[in-house]
């Protein structure tokens, strides 16, 4: 497995971030429910500005639910998620995006009643600094020329690209990505990885939920391991190789 030694640039950023006073996002004791069932039992983690942090864990560990809790599409939540000083749990769901948070959902969330172009242009750009449509096409050439196709008629992988692409337009500088490589061909995974590194270099902060460890390791700074609705471990990317055994145990390999 290839390793990606941190570049000088990103090393400096990590150091800068570490120096910064408060983390960009600080999640404390987050609990969440689906109806009656209690799914998250006190999640704690933080993300500093410019960092890429992954959440990993077995199926059903609560990774998706954690992201959903942050943007407010889960029914009942408790705890605190302090983002830029505000508690996300107390922000009206439709105002979360306006804080510059972008979300790429697990099941992609492409709207079938909208065309590809409409899907792409859908999320309002709440902040400056978003990518232009052509730039996005450059990143994902598959989407080019499909403007008037209904969104869900795209292939699985193309829908994934569309889901990522549309967030890049909004100028969000904090992105929650739920398994972006699922169903994506290896070449394109590499491209997405490259794109994410570019975004990171531009100062974007990312939470990444991933099953593909190899991919995660190629861009992340730190990894949080979730199990049964709790954060059970934190491993920095540098220490990943050294801790592979421990990690495999968590993941049940």
């Amino acid at each position: 497995m290839p390793t990606f030694p941190p570049t000088a640039k990103s090393a400096r950023r990590i150091w800068e971030a570490a120096m910064a006073e408060a983390p960009l996002l600080d999640v404390k004791g987050l609990e969440a429910w689906y109806g009656e069932s209690h799914v998250l039992h006190g999640i704690d983690f933080d993300v500093r500005k410019g960092e890429v942090v992954t959440l990993i864990g077995r199926n059903g560990a609560g990774k998706t639910t954690t992201l959903r809790s942050l943007i407010g599409v889960v029914g009942k939540r408790r705890g605190a998620c302090i983002y830029k000083g505000a508690d996300l749990l107390k922000v009206a769901p439709h105002k979360v995006a306006r804080l510059g948070i972008g979300y790429v959902p697990e099941e992609r969330g492409i709207f079938s009643s909208l065309t590809v172009l409409e899907n792409l242009l859908f999320p309002p750009a709440w902040q400056a600094g978003g990518m232009a449509v052509d730039e996005i096409y450059g990143l994902f050439p598959n989407l080019k020329g499909r403007d008037s196709t209904s969104g869900t008629r795209l292939s699985g992988g193309e829908q994934q690209m569309l889901a990522i692409g549309r967030i890049l337009r909004t100028g969000a500088d904090f992105i929650l990505l739920d398994e972006p490589t699922e169903g994506i061909a290896p070449v394109i995974i590499e491209e997405i990885g490259a794109a994410l590194r570019i975004l990171k270099d531009r100062g974007m902060t990312i939470i990444l939920v991933e099953q593909n460890l190899r991919f995660a390791a190629s861009i992340a700074d730190r990894h949080y391991v979730l199990d049964q609705g709790k954060v059970v471990d934190e491993i920095s990317n540098n220490a990943l190789d050294a801790n592979m055994d421990r990690l495999n145990r968590y993941l049940g390999v």
Binding site: P93, V96, A97, S112, S113, L114, W126
Partner: protein, 295 residues
Amino acid sequence: MTDIFGVPIAVLLGQLLLGLINGSFYALLSLGLAIIFGMLNVINFAHGAFYMLGGFAAWLLLSALGLGYWETLIAAPLMVGALGAVVERLFLKRLYRVDHLYSLLLTFGIALMLEGLLRHVYGAAGKPYPIPPSLTGGINLGFMFLPMYRAWVIVASLAVCIATWLAIERTKLGAYLRAATENPGLVQAFGINVPFMLTATYAFCVGLAGFAGALAAPLYQVSPGMGSSVIIVVFAVVVIGGMGSIGGAIVTALALGIIEGLTKTFYPAASSIAVFVVMVLVILIRPSGLFSREA
């Protein structure tokens, strides 16, 4: 004079025009219904009741407050729309996530309540509402006598329909609404205030029905039952045009008005079935309606 199946051409032309006018009425009603279905995923059985309320509001404003026709035409839809907003906030809002059977039943119940209430308070007999003096009389078109008021109806309703169509199809609003029916949580996550948008949409569409009611008051008996007799036909229009297709609803409404008018001329006994026959045929040939987005 030339005849077509025994009907003089002049009479036929007149019938076509009248059909078109009726169609523009249907358009006003089915437009709102189509938007509510397409965007909110609600089968709004109360649409007829709101239409009726529009008529009643017009009558009340006239008889109790002495408001003139033009003021009424603006105030009545606003009142109905406001009531619609309340209904959406209090009830419908909680039903978006469950099977749309429930919103159908809810609106069915609301229709019964409104109809029952008005009948209880104002009686089953209708209320008189005269044609405004500025619009009485008619124009002789040569082939027919066209009452002024009917001419005004077609102008007013088409203008409103087209304005609505532009507002929804030519702006991002339409995309927001359509997406919100599919996945409201996600749309919200993109920073759009979905609940507000839905309330406003419902209120607006119901307001359109109220507008139609106020427009109809001088033509038809303003009575508690006036809504339930048109609602089924308007539903058929929406189904034929393709649920959720706004332009489709308008065009279909006009076409059906004409078809109905022609049946009234050639075989009046079948005129109320005509719409349903067309509907069954269309659904068999093009299941999702003539103008629906889905193939």
